[in-house]
C-alpha cells in the first residue's frame, strides 16, 4: 500500500481575542486546536478519528482538506505538499479530496435543486455539460437513490434527513474522489436512518476502495466503518491502532475511560465509576507534559514533565502514555 496522506508535526493554533493587558505585554494567546500530530493514511484505508468536542478532531479534518491553513508542520497529499497547492493543482486536489458534513439540512444550498447541488463539483472542475447527467446518475446510483428523477428537481427542504445525507454523499462522490472526510455524518440522523448511512459508507469503502477519514465522537459508529482508529485528546493523538484492538484492549487511560463511558443498549452492563474525572482542560493553557494528567488516576511525576510519545504497545497499535512506554514497562 502507498501513503495517500502523510502529516508530520501538523499544528493549528487559532489566535484568541486578547485583553488590553495581553496586547500591551505583546502576548499572543492561542487555542492549540491541533498541537503537533503525526498521521499517515494509506491508500484504501478507512481511519476513524475519535474524540470529544474540543479535542481538535474537526480541525484535523479541515487541515487535511486545506479548508484551513496549518500553523506548522508538513502535510503531503499523494506525495505533494498541500500547503503549496494553488490554482490548477488546488483545483485537482479539490476534486480528489471531498467532505461529508454533519448536518445534511445545512450542507446543500437551499436554493438549489438536488440535480443542481450534485452537479456543483462537476461544474467547478469543468466537466463538459454533456457528461454531467450521466455522472450525476452514476453517483446517485452509488448512494442508492437510483430512481433519481424522483428527486432531481426537488429542493433540499422536500427530502428527509437520510435522503439528503445520501445526496451529500453523492455530491462528494460525483467527482470520483480518492479521499473522503466524513465529519459526524450520522449524528444528526435518527437511529433507524443512521444504520442505512453507515451501511452505505461500508459498502462504498469496499466497492470504490475509497480512502476515508471518519470523524466522530462516537466509537460505536467508527467501529462499523473503520479498520483503524485514532483517539484524540486536546489536540494530540493519544492512541492509534486497529479498531477492534483499540476497543477490546485500549492502552491509553483516556481511551479506556471513553470506552467505559459508552452506554450499551442492554440493561446488563457495567455501571462502575469511570476511571477519569472532570472535563476537558482548557486548550489555551493545557497542562504541561501529558494533557490528561490532571484527570488521570495513574498520573505520576514524569507525566507533568515530559510529553509522552506515541509508541508501539503491540504490532500496529500505539499509545502516548508513560505507563505503557517501554522504559516504564521495563522498570515495572
Amino acid at each position: 500500500m502507498a501513503e495517500l496522506i502523510a502529516a508530520a508535526n501538523l499544528t493549528k493554533h487559532y489566535p484568541t481575542s486578547r485583553t488590553t493587558r495581553q496586547m500591551l505585554r505583546g502576548e499572543r494567546p492561542v487555542v492549540r486546536a491541533v498541537d503537533g500530530i503525526d498521521l499517515v493514511i494509506q491508500r484504501g484505508e478507512s481511519v476513524g478519528l475519535v474524540g470529544e468536542s474540543g479535542s481538535g478532531k474537526t480541525t484535523v479534518g479541515r487541515l487535511l482538506l486545506k479548508l484551513t491553513e496549518a500553523s506548522g508542520g508538513t502535510l503531503n497529499f499523494d506525495g505533494a505538499a498541500v500547503s503549496g497547492l494553488s490554482g490548477d493543482s488546488l483545483r485537482r486536489f479539490r476534486q480528489q479530496a471531498q467532505l461529508v458534513f454533519q448536518n445534511p439540512f445545512d450542507s446543500v444550498n437551499p436554493r438549489f435543486t438536488i440535480r443542481r447541488a450534485v452537479a456543483e463539483p462537476l461544474i467547478n472542475t469543468g466537466v463538459p455539460r454533456a457528461e454531467r447527467d450521466g455522472r450525476i446518475a452514476e453517483a446517485m446510483r452509488l448512494v442508492h437513490l437510483g430512481d433519481f428523477h424522483r428527486y432531481a428537481d426537488k429542493h433540499p427542504s422536500e427530502l428527509s434527513g437520510g435522503q439528503l445525507q445520501r445526496v451529500v454523499l453523492a455530491r462528494a462522490l460525483v467527482g470520483r474522489p480518492s479521499f473522503l472526510v466524513a465529519d459526524e455524518p450520522v449524528s444528526m440522523l435518527d437511529v433507524s436512518v443512521r444504520a442505512g448511512i453507515l451501511n452505505l459508507m461500508r459498502e462504498l469503502r469496499d466497492r470504490l476502495g475509497l480512502t476515508a477519514l471518519y470523524i466522530s465522537h462516537d466509537l460505536t459508529l467508527v467501529r462499523y466503518v473503520c479498520e483503524r482508529t485514532l483517539v484524540m485528546y486536546l489536540g494530540r493523538i493519544v492512541e492509534d491502532g486497529p479498531t477492534s484492538e483499540v476497543i477490546s484492549r485500549p492502552a491509553h487511560p483516556y481511551t479506556q475511560a471513553l470506552i467505559k463511558a459508552v452506554p450499551r443498549p442492554r440493561t446488563d452492563q457495567s455501571r462502575e465509576d469511570l476511571p477519569i474525572s472532570g472535563g476537558l482542560a482548557n486548550a489555551v493553557s493545557p497542562p504541561s507534559g501529558c494533557r490528561l494528567r490532571d484527570r488521570c488516576p495513574y498520573a505520576f511525576a514524569r507525566c507533568a514533565q515530559e510529553v509522552p510519545a506515541l509508541l508501539e504497545v503491540a504490532p500496529g497499535h500505539r499509545a502516548a502514555c508513560h505507563l505503557t512506554s517501554p522504559a516504564n514497562a521495563a522498570a515495572a
Binding site: S192, V193, I247, K260, V262, P265
Partner: protein, 336 residues
C-alpha cells in the same frame, strides 16, 4: 405494579398548521409508577417532546390538548384552571431541558436563580433557600461555592447538573427531562447519568426521560415506553422491553442501534419514513414500514396487548413475537 403516580389516558394534542390540523400526539396511554424512571424513546417527529410539553401544560400557542386525561397523584390536570395548572409547575412537575444554556439566565448568578425558585415558588426564606441550594448543588455533584458563578462560567456538563439541581429544588413529584444528556460528550454524559441514577435511588425520584438513545434508557431507566407517530407502541420494564421486544418497531430500533460489542455485521435500517400525520393511516401506523405487515394491520389499529407482566405492545402479531424477533435480527428481513 405499584400505584401509578402519573396516568395518561387517550391523550391527543393537535397542532393548527397552515396545512391543517396535525395530531402530533394521538391517543397516548401511559402510566408512570411512583419511583420509576421512565424512558420515553422515539425518533424525531414521533411526538415525544409534544407529549412531555402537554404533561407540563406548556404547549405552544398553536397546539392544544384535544382529548384525554392526565392524572397526577389523583388530580386531573386537565380539569384545573390555567392559573392552578401553572402553579403546579416546578412544585409538582419540573423540567430539565436539553440545552441548559438556554434555560439558565446568563445575567444572574446561580444563587439568584436558585433563590428565585426556592423563595419565589417555594416560599422558603433566603437563609433556608441558600442552605437548600448548597445541598442541591452537593447532590448533583457541584461544589456549593459555584453558586456564586454565572452560568457561562460553567462547562456544559456542569450547566446540565445545575439545571437538574434547579429542577429538583422543590421536591417535585415528577421530573420531566427532555434529552438531558444528548448535547454532552460521552464521558461527561456518563458522569451525569451516574449522578442521575444515584439521585433516583436516594430521593426515590419519579422521572420521565425523553430521548432517542436506547442506550441511555438501558443505562438509566427502569421502565421504557416506545413511541411511534404519536402513539405509544410498546411499554414495559426496560430489561424486558430491550431483551424481548414485542413490537416490530422496537425490534427494528434494537437492530439498527450500533453497539460497541458483538460482531460488526451490517446494521438493519428501517426502510421508509414515518407517516405524514396530516393524513394518518388507518390501522397500525408502522404498517407501511413493517416487514411483518398483514392485511389486518392496514385496516385496524391494534389494541395494546399484554405480553408479560406490565409489558404490553400494540401489534396484531404480538402472539408471534418470539418468531418475529428471530426474523427481525436478519438484516434481509428489513430490506424492502
Amino acid at each position: 405494579m405499584t400505584t401509578a403516580l402519573l396516568s395518561v389516558s387517550d391523550l391527543a394534542v393537535t397542532y393548527r398548521t397552515q396545512a391543517g390540523l396535525v395530531a402530533a400526539v394521538d391517543g397516548v396511554n401511559l402510566e408512570v409508577p411512583a419511583g420509576a424512571m421512565l424512558g420515553l424513546v422515539g425518533e424525531s417527529g414521533c411526538g415525544k417532546t409534544t407529549l412531555a410539553r402537554a404533561l407540563m401544560g406548556v404547549l405552544p400557542g398553536n397546539a392544544r390538548v384535544s382529548r384525554g386525561r392526565i392524572v397526577l397523584d389523583g388530580t386531573d390536570l386537565q380539569a384545573l384552571s390555567a392559573a392552578k395548572r401553572r402553579a403546579l409547575l416546578w412544585r409538582d412537575i419540573s423540567f430539565v431541558p436539553q440545552s441548559s444554556m438556554n434555560s439558565l439566565d446568563p445575567v444572574y448568578r446561580m444563587r439568584t436563580q436558585m433563590r428565585e425558585v426556592l423563595c419565589g415558588r417555594g416560599d422558603l426564606s433566603r437563609g433556608a433557600a441558600d442552605t437548600r441550594a448548597a445541598d442541591l448543588f452537593q447532590a448533583v455533584g457541584l461544589n456549593p461555592v459555584r453558586l456564586n458563578d454565572f452560568p457561562h462560567q460553567f462547562s456544559g456538563g456542569m450547566r446540565q447538573r445545575a439545571a437538574i439541581a434547579l429542577a429538583l429544588a422543590l421536591h417535585p413529584k415528577l421530573v420531566i427531562a427532555d434529552e438531558p444528556v444528548t448535547a454532552l460528550d460521552v464521558i461527561v454524559q456518563r458522569q451525569v447519568l451516574d449522578m442521575l441514577r444515584r439521585l433516583g435511588e436516594d430521593m426515590n425520584l419519579t422521572a420521565i426521560f425523553v430521548t432517542h438513545d436506547i442506550a441511555v434508557v438501558a443505562y438509566l431507566c427502569t421502565v421504557t415506553a416506545v413511541m411511534y407517530a404519536g402513539r405509544i407502541v410498546e411499554y414495559g420494564p426496560t430489561a424486558d422491553v430491550l431483551a424481548r421486544p414485542a413490537h416490530p418497531y422496537t425490534m427494528g430500533l434494537m437492530n439498527a442501534f450500533p453497539d460497541l460489542e458483538g460482531p460488526t455485521q451490517d446494521l438493519a435500517p428501517i426502510e421508509g419514513s414515518p407517516p405524514d400525520l396530516h393524513t394518518p393511516p388507518t390501522g397500525c401506523r408502522f404498517a407501511a414500514r413493517c416487514p411483518f405487515v398483514q392485511p389486518v394491520c392496514t385496516t385496524t389499529y391494534p389494541a395494546p396487548t399484554d405480553v408479560a407482566p406490565d409489558h404490553w405492545a400494540a401489534c396484531h402479531r404480538v402472539g408471534e413475537a418470539e418468531t418475529l424477533r428471530a426474523q427481525a435480527t436478519e438484516a434481509a428481513t428489513w430490506q424492502s
